[in-house]
Each structure stands twice: as structure tokens, then as C-alpha cells.
Symmetry: C2
Subunit: 391 residues, 2 copies
């Protein structure tokens, strides 16, 4: 196991009706004037926004609002949020929504107290300070509610980049599984896929003898495999929603990813798809993961065999471990298809003709050195091959 | 899943040589004058104490020391530590040792800023403030390095009681697996047993549909089963030590125990043994757990069958689930025996004649209502039967 630091100080308030505690939580973490950041009208229509505002009012906390966050959140709205936070003298950013809203809130929080362009942080500058952020999560997917990460799409060129720093880690996150019961099945399935991807990106490691984190990742994968189909079948299943919601946080606060190299090639390859086509991140991952895993399988057959046996219940073929490894990838593919996820470029709305552009943006965009590196290093030819496997 | 709050803000510095960072960590968390609290001479003889002091000196942090913590840490030394902390104007308590040292440090931290008797906190008074605590862990066992808990033995009557509060949760913990390589096999095995017990105490729940935490607990149990025999066979196996050390923390910071009722009957039944005979807590648990589990098996046969199948690799007997459930308990018993743990009262150094006294202390001591409650409620007759099963 490699040396590491682990620090996850977010306070999680989990369960039914917990959004009623938002006012007290903002107060506990020092907020006096809040910018409520959110996406579309669903949080308003559902009555959630009203409950959140009532809780803030009850705690005597002033607030302003900024809606309009879209999936694959854009830099334009971040600039707007930064201006609003400054002009209103806001000292706390409250995200009410999913990963996109939380990521946009983190960007505003960092940008509001920075003299330069917030995009500097998404070009590699460390985030040293930010306004405190809290969240009320409405979809189990991104894990942003317990992570120091944020991904934003730059509208000048439509490319996605990430930033990270303890300063933008949420001070608290309200996780009420009931809030996710109204999600359409497709969005629920995208969230499940994203969580599985966060687990695979950590599972695919070149660090040896990491039994504890292997087992923890497998535990969370098994949870998704058990609970995923149950919520698709019955969206009102609170217990299944609750198990998925805690798994989604645990999958990405990195307690199961410490001390080991990680992959993240699938995420990088996918990010170009959702940046260009504005498809759901989870949907893009469903198409990307099986292609990437099949392409790199030879790099460590036994690792793919291990997940096949321990997670997907495949029988170990001791004479042909690579057959077991492939069976595990096929089991993942079937699982995602059964959830209703797209299987290929066509179903995702992507186009073969764009492959050279995707490869170029992926490998050369934003100062990248002509390749990407994770579990394996993939050059431009590899990336083109992988995109072609998704056709 | 039940509603819950989860808050684990401890900063973990994990890996080789990380004790070199102690000075910087104390500074980060606001300490200027440290009480170094430790046990016997082994941390001095090994050179660890010297390295810790050098790191503090390097960061310009003043320090005083108090050694002498024994397993099953005593109230007497806590009073001494409180007096020393006050007279020296200490503002940070640094535990260098195992669970006993950390628990004693937490008690000093709470007592030093409290006007009354620190034992009030071990009699139910909430801990509202304490000096900050940091730890350098030398044995993977208690999980106290990431928990808000402390257990102290009151020398006036020799009974153990616990206290809990976020204020005594360590601000940082240094986890260097190499520091555990010099432990005698018996102590290593006691630690492994304690970690397994922390997992079973959470696994035995009356809350339904808690797949995510079930799976996480199982993951950590599987890690102990894989790595335990490897460190007993080869104490220098750093990788196995590292996996056990992270599992020990994760087993007890409660991320795998949230949202579900827990048991803790085995711990309570054991505490009377180690309080009376001063045996190692882990050794007492090795004798206690199989007896308790066999006694309460009928309360939820399928739960015991689940752990038997998923963790111990038992084949499910669909016609006789209780046979599978029993096979899992037998597998645990064999595992503990193979680790070198005692099997019964005799091997533990306990005496049949003391059973009435043990039962009375357990069920009636310190204001208890004549029974203990966890996965099941156990009255005095039940507790006597369980102690007799250990003969």
C-alpha cells in the first residue's frame, strides 16, 4: 500500500426529512448569508426549495438564489454566480441538486474569493481558499457531496476539466434518499452507472496487495448490483434508494481508494463525449467502460478475473483466466443494458465522424501531452481504437 | 435504514515514517504545548519516542511526557494526567501507543478542561469540550484512533465504562503499519480479534435492508480473515499489516455501522472479564463472541447464515439454515483458535466461582437495570448461561 493522507471532514445528515436541518447546519458551519444554487424547476415544483428556505428563515439566515445549472455545468453560470455572491455579500454557498449543481457551487465558492479568473483552478492552480459549501443532494451519482472535486465545462471550446481542493469539500451534506424517489428511471440509471464507474476507476490499480480497499470497492459494487435493479423496478423503494445513496458517497470520498494508484481513463474518455454531445455523464460511461476495459484487459488479466468472480459471480476458469475476465466485462455490459443505458455511439447520439476531434481534444486539449495515463497509458491510436469499439 | 449523522473529521496520515510529520500536524491543529502520553518502555526502546520528540522539536512545539498506561487503562493515571496537563499549561494531548493509551489520552483531554470529576463523563454526562487529541498508533485493534469513544477502568471497584463525544475524536492520527511489526504474535492476534468484534457488533442488527453496510462490514471481515494468518506467520509483512491497520480504523469510525441498530453485548460481557482479570480485551472477546453468538442464534438465523456464507465461505444448507448459521460460528471459533487466542475461561485465566460476581457487575453495576440490551436483551440468567458456555 502506498503512503497516503485521508481527510473527509464533511458532516453527513442522512435520512428522511433531513433538509429541515439545513438552517441549523449552515449556522453550525458559520454561514450568515447564503447563495442557494440549483438547477431546473424540479426542486421548486417538488416543494424542496420551499422547505429549504423555510429552514434557513427559521434559523434567521438570509439568502439569495441562482438557478439554471444544467447537466455538465457551464463556466458561464459560474461567472454569474461569482458576481452575485460578491454583490450580495454572500458567505456560504448552498447547493440544492445533484453533482452538476454541487460542482458549479464549488466553482463559485472558490471563484468568489479569488482575484483572478476562476478557470485558473480548472487549469491546474491549487485552490487554497473558498467560501464554505453545503449541499442538499437530490441524486445519488457524482459523489460530489463528499468529495473535494469539481468538474466544469468551458463553453469556449466545450471541454470539461476538473479542479480539486479541501477548501471546496462540502462542510455538510444533507442526504435524504426520499428526494431521489421522483427521479426518472433514466437519470437513476445514469447515477448508478456513475457510481459503478467511480468504483472501477479505483479498482483498476497497479498497486499490489491492497486487499482492504479491493474488498471495500467490491462491497460497494455488490450493493449497486443488488439495489440498482430494485430501484429501476420500483422507484419508490426507499430502502434501496438509501443503500445506493450511502454507497454513492462512500464510492467517492476515497476511503476505498486510498494508498493505491487509480485509473480514471474511462472518465477522461467519457468527458469528451458529454462535453461535445451534452449527453448524461453516466450514459457516456456506460458506453465507455466496457470498451476501455476490453481494450486494457491484457494489462492485468487476474485483476479483471478477480472482479468477475468476486462481484459478478462468474465461475473462475483456471485454465483460461482471460475468459473469466471477459465474462466479468460482459456481465457489466449486460447489467448496464438492463438498467436502460445506451450501448454504443448511435444510442448515445455520438458520431463516428467526430472521432478524430474527440481524440485530439482528449489527448492534446488543454496542454495534455498527446496521451492519457491511468491503469495503462493510452496514446492517440489507442484512444481512437477505443472510440471505434463503441460504434 | 435509520436516519443518522456521520462525522469523521480526523486527518489520517498513513504509511511508512509518517511519525516524522507529527510536529507539523500538531501545529496544523493548533497545539503549542503537548502532553505526550504513552504506555510502557517499548515506544522508548524502539526509538519511536525519540523520533516523535524530534519532530515536535523541529516544529518548535514544547512538550512534557506521561508514561505508564496499562492495558485496560486506569482512572488513577487519568487523574495524574489531568493534574499534569493543568500544571504545565498543556493545550494538546498526543497519544503514542495503542487503544489504551488513546483512551486514556481522551479522558485526560476531557478532564483537563472540566471543573468536576472526569468520571462524570464515564457515568453518562455528555462531553462538550476537551483539549485537542492526536495519536501515533502502535497497534491495530481498538479503532480509537478514528472514533469518538474511550473506555476506562475505574480502580474503585474495577469496572470498565465508556464515554463518547466528538470533542475527544482525534484531530489527526498517524498510522504507520511498520510500527506494528514488532508486536508479539499474541498482541497482534488480540488486535485482529478486537477488530473482528467491532465488525460483528455492527453486523448483528435488527434493522432490515441495510445492504450497503452489511457488505462493507463483510468486506472488512474478509480482509481480516485473509491478512490475519499472514501477519501471524510473518510479523514483518508490511502489506498485510497495512491492510489490517486501515481495516481496523474503518471498522470503528462507524462508516460501516451507520443507520442500523448495533449489538455490543459481547463487548459488555467481555468488559467485566478484562476488568476483573486484567486479561487482554481481544483475548476476552475471543472467548466471549462464540458463546454469545451461539446463545442468540435463534433470534435471527438468516443473519448468522448470511455471514457464514458470505464471509466464512460456508455452503448454504437451504433445508437447514441454522446448520449453516452454526457452521459460521464454528468457523469463527476455529479462526480465533488458529490465531492463538484462548478458547475458554481456563485459558483466559477466569474462574467459574466468579460468575455470579461477573453477572452482577454486568447487569446491575453502575446503575444498569438488571439486564443488558443489544441485538437481543439479555437478563441475568442469560448472562450467567453465556458465561457458563465459556467454561
Amino acid at each position: 500500500m502506498n503512503n497516503f493522507n485521508f481527510y473527509s471532514p464533511t458532516y453527513f445528515a442522512f435520512g428522511k426529512d433531513r433538509e429541515q436541518d439545513v438552517g441549523a447546519l449552515v449556522k453550525r458551519f458559520g454561514g450568515t448569508k447564503v447563495l442557494i444554487h440549483y438547477g431546473g424547476g424540479s426542486v421548486v415544483r417538488s416543494g424542496l426549495m420551499e422547505r429549504v428556505k423555510a429552514s434557513l428563515d427559521g434559523a434567521g439566515i438570509d439568502h439569495v438564489s441562482l438557478g439554471g445549472v444544467k447537466p455538465n455545468p457551464r463556466s458561464g453560470l459560474v461567472y454569474e454566480g461569482i458576481d452575485l455572491a460578491r454583490s450580495e455579500g454572500v458567505d456560504f454557498i448552498l447547493a440544492v441538486g445533484g453533482g452538476s449543481t454541487i460542482d458549479s457551487s464549488k466553482a463559485i465558492a472558490a471563484g468568489a474569493v479569488y482575484d483572478g479568473d476562476f478557470w485558473d483552478f480548472y487549469s491546474g492552480k491549487p485552490i487554497e481558499k473558498a467560501l464554505p459549501v453545503g449541499t442538499v443532494l437530490t441524486i445519488a451519482a457524482a459523489g460530489s457531496e463528499g468529495s473535494p472535486d469539481s468538474v466544469i465545462t468551458n463553453e469556449h471550446g466545450m471541454f470539461k476539466r476538473g479542479a480539486s481542493g479541501d477548501a471546496i469539500r462540502p462542510r455538510f451534506s444533507v442526504l435524504n434518499p426520499a428526494l431521489t424517489q421522483t427521479l426518472p428511471p433514466y437519470q437513476t440509471a445514469c447515477g448508478i452507472t456513475d457510481i459503478l464507474a467511480h468504483l472501477y476507476e479505483r479498482y483498476l490499480t497497479n498497486t499490489k496487495e491492497v486487499e482492504v480497499t479491493d474488498r471495500m470497492i467490491e462491497a460497494l459494487m455488490l450493493t449497486m448490483i443488488h439495489e440498482g435493479p430494485r430501484v429501476i423496478e420500483n422507484p419508490d423503494n426507499y430502502e434501496a434508494r438509501a443503500n445506493i445513496m450511502w454507497a454513492g458517497m462512500m464510492a467517492h470520498n476515497n476511503s476505498c481508494g486510498v494508498g493505491r494508484s487509480q485509473d480514471w481513463n474511462s472518465h477522461n474518455i467519457e468527458h469528451e463525449l458529454s462535453a461535445l454531445y451534452d449527453c448524461a455523464h453516466g450514459a457516456g460511461l456506460a458506453v465507455t467502460m466496457p470498451a476501455v476495459f476490453s481494450y486494457v484487459l491484457d494489462h492485468d488479466v487476474m485483476r479483471f478475473a478477480q472482479v468477475a468472480v468476486r462481484v459478478w459471480g462468474c465461475a473462475m476458469d483456471f485454465n483460461h483466466p482471460e475468459a473469466t475476465a471477459r465474462a466479468g466485462i460482459e456481465a457489466l455490459r449486460r447489467f448496464l443494458t438492463d438498467l436502460g443505458m445506451p450501448r454504443n455511439f448511435y444510442e448515445l447520439g455520438a458520431h463516428e465522424a467526430d472521432i478524430p476531434k474527440l481524440v485530439d481534444a482528449l489527448c492534446n486539449g488543454d496542454g495534455r501531452p498527446g496521451h492519457i495515463t491511468g491503469f495503462v497509458t493510452l496514446n492517440q491510436e489507442d484512444c481512437e481504437n477505443i472510440y471505434r469499439m463503441m460504434l
